[in-house]
Symmetry: C2
């Protein structure tokens, strides 16, 4: 097991009818900016629940944060924060709204020249403006971690940021919100959380027995609830386990003491930036090719995953590993997610070269747990995913 | 899944040679009281590592905190804290030293008549004196939770306390400390952590799929590493997984959203108070009888545990459940722990009646996940354990 540090101070408030507890968590003298997305919360009743809970809180609103939160729009929100002397942020939404709020939390207290630096110069945020979240879409785990991904349209870039100052103070997780999520978003959430676990698990063994078993626990739970939640999003058993699994998949716990990969995300982000493909679906495009390409480096963990998660008991280590990749692709298809770039766009020729060049330009010379995936290898993996 | 709240702000610093990081975690202007136990840390080198790390820190010492931290002695330490204007506590030890430090953290800021009230009147500590820990004995999980158990010799009582103000600010877990722990303490640690998981798991199903799998993960890991760590405590793989499993067993995570039992601990504590039997061994005495006595209420979970943790695939649900209890007792014996009160004392007659009466006197009318174990049932369970 590798050495590690772990601290996660976010308070989780989980369960039925918990949105009404918001006001208990926000200081009484706070001036709050309520941030949300495209407005679905006004149709499904969540907006009403939130504003009712905020009856005695001084707040204003900023809606319209899109999927893949966009820098220019967030700069408009930052102006509101400064003009209105906001002291506390409340994100009501999925990963995009929460990630956008994290950027604002950092930018609001940033003293450098331009907040864009936070993204391009990898500036860690030690202290941000305090914020809470009401999660409306289980997927990214952003509700209990300190990372965010921000997009800038004009440069077609999608960049990561984070730091210990960016944990939500609290996050409210009411699984009942899942009942109004469209199938496509549910499938995306399942896919996203599943891949988050794989990125922290599908590397090489370091004798971290408990972390491995925790990761496998989340994968097993997602596999168990996926068909149920897609069939009936009002199934509270499935919804609550889905929601808690998404949070645990990326709250930092399972990555402690083990190597992590994240190459699937790095490549996937480029597909979103280039084609606007849903984040989760880019992961389904890249992951199978990535595991095939890096088979020898990952086969021990692939076999262990095959045995424990998919009950593959027959065959050699290599055969189990291959079967595990097949099972994974089949699972993605079962939840309605295509796994080839050509399923999403006809304009895919040249994509691999383009992504490899962007990585080279950015100085990203070695992705993955061994920092060994050079741009030419990235090019091969993306081509395999056409 | 039941509604829950979860917040655990303790910073964990885990791994080889991490004790030297203490000073980074303590405010430079702190006046520190270094608390420890019987002095084994002076023989195994941990005391030297700690004091070297504290070279530039203003600290004084208070050693001699025994197993089952004793109220009268802690009151001596409290006097030192007040007299010396201590602002920060540092516990170097196992669960007893850390629990004692938690009591002091609470007592140092307590404004009521006597700190004994914290224990007898169930006063939750919202804010305690800040403290860190260096764990020398994996077992209780006290290094990453906010609870403590304190003993008062004069009344032969062992009482619990806690509150959100009693999380350690940081805890340093260096698995290398395990190499100098005697076999008896290693076995106690394995037993204690194993039972902590059972108390939060062996109840009835509430469709908390992920929590169940996490609990089973810890049990599986303890079973896997137990023979290795007992054979060779310098085995870092086994030691690191043992240590992290003990922490995760009682840091609050696996109990969230599920019913919990804790009747084994309640009865076990009395055996320690009455006979001075090691805490962990009292759990091994009580647990088998408890599961036999409450078989019908617990058989679904017993069977699931048997299937997933012990690979018991044959038989009816009842047969699997019975086999799971047998496997558990065999595991306790394998790690060298006896499971009957008569193995520890010849003076056991009347114990059951005595414990039942103490529960009645204290107004504890219903233990366990259903609050259904009345003192007369407790009496039966303890008798079964003779």
């Amino acid at each position: 097991m590798n050495n590690f540090e772990f601290k996660n101070p976010t308070k989780i408030i989980f369960g039925k009818d918990t949105i009404k507890n918001i006001a208990n968590e926000i200081p009484t003298n706070a001036k709050v900016l309520l941030l949300y997305g495209g407005g679905s919360i006004k149709k499904n009743g969540i907006y009403d629940q939130v504003t009712t809970a905020l009856a005695n809180v001084d707040f204003i609103e900023f809606g319209g944060i899109p999927a893949n939160p966009e820098y220019a729009l967030l700069m408009d929100a930052l102006k509101v924060i400064k003009d209105e002397k906001i002291t506390y942020l409340l994100a009501v939404g999925g990963g995009s709204v929460i990630d956008g709020t994290k950027f604002l939390s950092a930018a609001a207290l940033y003293e450098g020249e331009t907040p864009w630096d936070i993204l391009t110069k990898n500036i860690r945020t030690e202290k941000g403006m305090p914020f809470g979240t009401v999660l409306t879409l289980p997927a990214t785990g952003s509700e209990m971690n300190s990372g965010a991904v921000i997009t800038r349209k004009e440069t077609k870039e999608k960049l990561a940021m984070g730091g210990p100052g960016l944990f939500p103070v609290f996050s409210i997780l009411d699984p009942q919100v899942i009942s109004s999520i469209p199938q496509r978003q549910l499938a995306n959430g399942l896919m996203d959380a599943f891949t988050h676990v794989l990125e922290q698990y599908m590397t090489y063994p370091v004798e971290a027995l408990l972390q491995d078993r925790f990761a496998e626990s989340i994968l097993q739970t997602i596999i168990e609830v996926a068909p149920k939640i897609l069939k009936d999003p009002t199934d509270y058993k499935a919804a609550s386990n889905f929601m808690w699994s998404c949070t645990m998949a990326l709250n930092g716990l399972i990555q402690k003491g083990v190597p992590t990969d994240w190459a699937v995300h790095a490549m996937g982000h480029e597909l979103t930036a280039l084609f606007g493909i849903d984040h989760a679906r880019t992961l389904a495009i890249i992951a199978p090719s990535h595991y095939e390409f890096n088979f020898d480096a990952k086969k021990e963990k692939l076999a262990q995953y095959g045995e424990r998660v998919w009950n593959i008991t027959e065959g050699t280590l290599e055969e189990k590993s291959k079967a595990a990749i097949k099972k994974t692709v089949a699972f993605f298809h079962e939840i309605g997610i295509d796994t080839k770039l050509s399923d999403y766009t006809k304009d895919y020729e040249g994509t691999a070269e383009k992504i490899a060049k962007r990585f080279t330009d950015r100085g990203w010379l070695g992705l993955g747990e061994h920092q060994s995936l050079s741009p030419d290898k990235v090019e091969e993996i993306v081509k395999m995913a056409y």
